[in-house]
């Protein structure tokens, strides 16, 4: 092992963590975003003049948000899945003889 770049298992661990961070971060951010947005939409809903338009805008806003956050969530899930699979394969193949945390 000549440098930190060779510690594949460690980097796969980082990728796994970041992937999970992306996935769960997107879920939580979506919940926070939509619930904050709902506070405004509730107020607009209470006003008769803005009610019809606000309903349409709310549906559009929530749909676009769902698609955007779900894409990030899916990408994070894929990264975590790939990293975990690669780490498991590496352990089976015995590629990682040196642990970054041991030095």
């Amino acid at each position: 092992m000549k440098g930190p770049d060779n510690h594949v298992h460690w980097w796969l661990g980082v990728a796994d963590l970041l992937g999970h961070g992306m996935q769960h971060g997107a879920i939580k951010l979506k919940r926070a975003h939509l619930s904050i947005a709902d506070e405004s939409f509730r107020m607009l809903e209470a006003i008769p003049v803005t009610r019809p338009v606000s309903r349409v805008v709310r549906v559009c806003h929530h749909s676009i948000s769902h698609i955007s956050y779900s894409s990030v969530e899916l990408a994070g899930h894929a990264v975590a899945l790939l990293a975990a699979a690669a780490a498991a394969r590496g352990v089976v193949d015995g590629e990682h003889g040196c642990n970054m945390n041991d030095s």
Binding site: G3, P4, H7, H9, W10, W11, L12, G13, V14, D16, L17, K28, L29, R31, A32, L34, S35, I36, A84, A87, A88, V91, H96, N99, M100, N101, D102, S103
Partner: protein, 303 residues
């Protein structure tokens, strides 16, 4: 003087922080960031089953770090591998200084069990008979000592019967105000009927078992009764305070920044008999692990 961190050191610090926050989860996933429990001598990993040491002493001094820390927290600023253990070894002679590195996010009782087993192996395979064992624990490391002592006594380990000195340095025996505060804030936010506030609560709540144990100073297996300090060992407590003046209100509010003086002394733990208590106003939580005044106190007690 600016210290230069190598890429390897940065990676180790990232591992230590990630392990502190999510160590139990990382371990369960077999994630490469999870720090395995290892002993170190002069910065090199030590094989406890086959320890090869130049001049093995009959006294072993093991330094155990705290939450999200590395064993390097013990090193005096600008002096790599110079720490309380090496100073005690110089002063007392016939002493070998060791350091422990572990995944601080795991439940404390599980780390305690592993530490007890590791000490048993070490004492069994040490090249000369071990007569004395000094355990220095900073912050969570102090709780780990109590857990390991209890586990070692239960499993009738040999290392329990040697002369044992346990030093708890800034250890939150009654919990850390920060961990307790985080727990309370998360609870409050989770009760509010607003999803964005619940999300904030969930994010604060996203912490390892090790941190949860810190909030109440839990060191034993869940469901187990409070155990007394190991009676045959000598126990010492060191605490710090943020402000130099002991009566300063900042000290009453924050203690050494993370741990109150009363918690470091285990004032709510029943039946504790301590062989020495020292308080260092003006020395914060982190500096307790590498401060000349603390070093002097340790030499006074242990040499």
């Amino acid at each position: 003087m600016m210290s230069v961190l190598s890429a390897g050191k940065i990676q180790q610090h990232i591992s230590a922080i990630a392990s502190g926050f999510l160590g139990d989860w990382l371990e369960a996933r077999g994630n490469g960031l999870a720090v395995p429990m290892r002993m170190f001598i002069d910065g090199q990993p030590l094989d406890v089953a086959n320890p090869t040491v130049d001049a093995p002493g009959s006294t072993l001094c093991l330094s155990i770090h705290g939450l999200m820390e590395l064993d390097s927290v013990w090193d005096f600023p600008g002096q790599a591998h110079e720490h309380y253990g090496t100073r005690l070894a110089e002063a007392a002679g016939d002493t070998t200084a060791l350091k422990l590195r572990f995944n601080s996010g795991r439940p404390i009782y599980r780390n305690g069990q592993d530490l007890a087993d590791l000490l048993e192996q070490l004492v069994m395979h040490w090249p000369v008979p071990v007569k004395r064992l000094i355990l220095l624990g900073h912050s969570m490391g102090g709780l780990l000592i109590r857990s390991a002592c209890h586990c070692g006594a239960t499993r009738q380990h040999g290392w329990i019967s040697v002369q044992l000195d346990c030093v708890y340095i800034g250890a939150p025996h009654d919990g850390s105000w920060l961990a307790i505060g985080a727990h309370k804030v998360a609870d409050r936010l989770n009760q509010v009927p607003r999803d964005y506030l619940k999300v904030m609560g969930e994010v604060i709540d996203l912490r390892s078992e090790g941190i949860r144990n810190l909030s109440r100073g839990e060191v034993f297996e869940p469901g187990q009764d409070e155990q007394p300090l190991l009676p045959q060992a000598r126990h010492y407590v060191i605490s710090g305070l943020l402000a130099r003046k002991a009566e300063h209100p900042v000290n009453a509010l924050f203690g050494d920044a993370l741990v109150h003086e009363s918690s470091a002394r285990g004032e709510h733990r029943p039946g504790w008999v301590l062989n020495g208590i020292a308080n260092f106003p003006g020395v914060d939580h982190l500096r307790l692990a590498h401060h000349p005044l603390v070093c002097g106190q340790l030499q006074e007690w242990l040499v």
